[in-house]
Subunit: 226 residues, 2 copies
């Protein structure tokens, strides 16, 4: 029987993203990367991102203020998507043309060094800058929201009750080009100085991972199934 | 034998923080809280925070830009501390009087509803606004860095090689008052609409937890111990 599997790694890797004044590493340049596949992989894995923007219209507050809002990121092709209530502060500001810095951070472990100074974190992160496009066409918006559902649980988008017109209107989807972005990561053991290598304290990495536990069914559903 | 245990919940709980234009909930007010004990508990548990600020001096970039940087938060009394290389962009901008929005997000689970619209995330988060104080006095700075180490591994600060003068100079510690801050949280099963309760799809919560794995000793230390 002939295998119908498509080799997913067979495509040519795309060119790295260009460096910009905002994505050029200031320090520790060896931890930085503009590799598209790495940036995509971090976005695909991250359950959460933090969206930073400047709010210059807070009622009762005079000066523009930085705002950082957590939300779920997902990817459709070469765009990073976020969504939210159309009435929310974040969606309104960004829809009006506001610029965002979106940061996604995956923590992989505590790095315990012999010296206090060389303690660190193993991580993979992405910083992305840009202004979003509002996904307004209904078919594209539905497909985007389906893709979000598929990220949370593959196969689920076909099983749930789909959004009705009112729900679709109450939800806004914003798409950011993955164009001005960079990744950073650290991995491996601590980088202590040579003169500290015999200091008598355990050194190494304590791995950290976000783990899904036993699913807890809605008690209301259990009651109805009895 | 008389128990020497001190009841940790015996203290009077402090008054909630005041609402400000920035910490008053815009939507879903029932998820918001200004309770100090809850805010402290989230800061104490969070391994990471995202620090948002506005950078108006990026070389080669004309306009002020939002920036969101991940770092480790910890608490000393009623201040939230962060640290970083004194030469880093974040430290420099905030030391110059820049205002920050620091957001800490703990993800507790995916909320899988019957309708696409009511999918959600169980979480606990804190948003804190303010300008920092530079911790410059040496004894206070050492104590603050010890407290960071204790958060990562209790008892470790006494065992590691302490920072020397040069390392201390290369590291800046910033302290933010926990004064203009609020918490938000969601817990429990999905909140589907009554007419969807019999929709035939599994509904409930998939708990998520950040778990520490088996420690991986630095190979360089294993080699020396042989």
């Amino acid at each position: 029987m002939t295998s119908l599997l498509v080799e997913s790694s067979a495509t040519d890797s795309p060119a790295p993203l260009p460096q910009t004044p905002r994505t050029r590493p200031v320090r520790l340049g060896d931890r930085g990367s503009h590799d598209v596949a790495l940036i995509h992989a971090i976005i695909d894995e991250a359950p959460i991102c933090h969206v930073g923007f400047v709010d210059d219209a807070i009622k009762g507050h005079d000066t523009p203020s930085p705002m950082v809002i957590p939300t779920i990121p997902w990817r459709v092709g070469d765009e990073l998507m976020i969504h939210g209530a159309s009435s929310s502060r974040m969606i309104r500001r960004l829809q009006e043309g506001g610029e965002a810095c979106i940061t996604l951070s995956l923590i992989d472990g505590w790095v315990l060094a012999r010296s206090a100074f060389h303690h660190s974190v193993n991580y993979r992160s992405v910083m992305l800058f840009g202004r979003p496009r509002l996904v307004s066409e209904e078919a594209e918006k539905r497909a985007a929201l389906d893709a979000l559902m598929e990220k949370i649980e593959p196969g689920r988008s076909a099983k749930v009750r789909a959004p009705n017109t009112q729900e679709l209107k109450a939800t806004s989807v914003l798409a950011f080009p993955i164009a001005e972005a960079s990744a950073k990561r650290r991995s491996g053991p601590p980088g202590d100085d040579p003169e500290d290598m015999d200091h008598p304290v355990w050194a190494g990495v304590v791995p950290l991972r976000l783990i899904a536990g036993e699913p807890e069914q809605d008690p209301a559903q259990i009651a109805r199934q009895k």
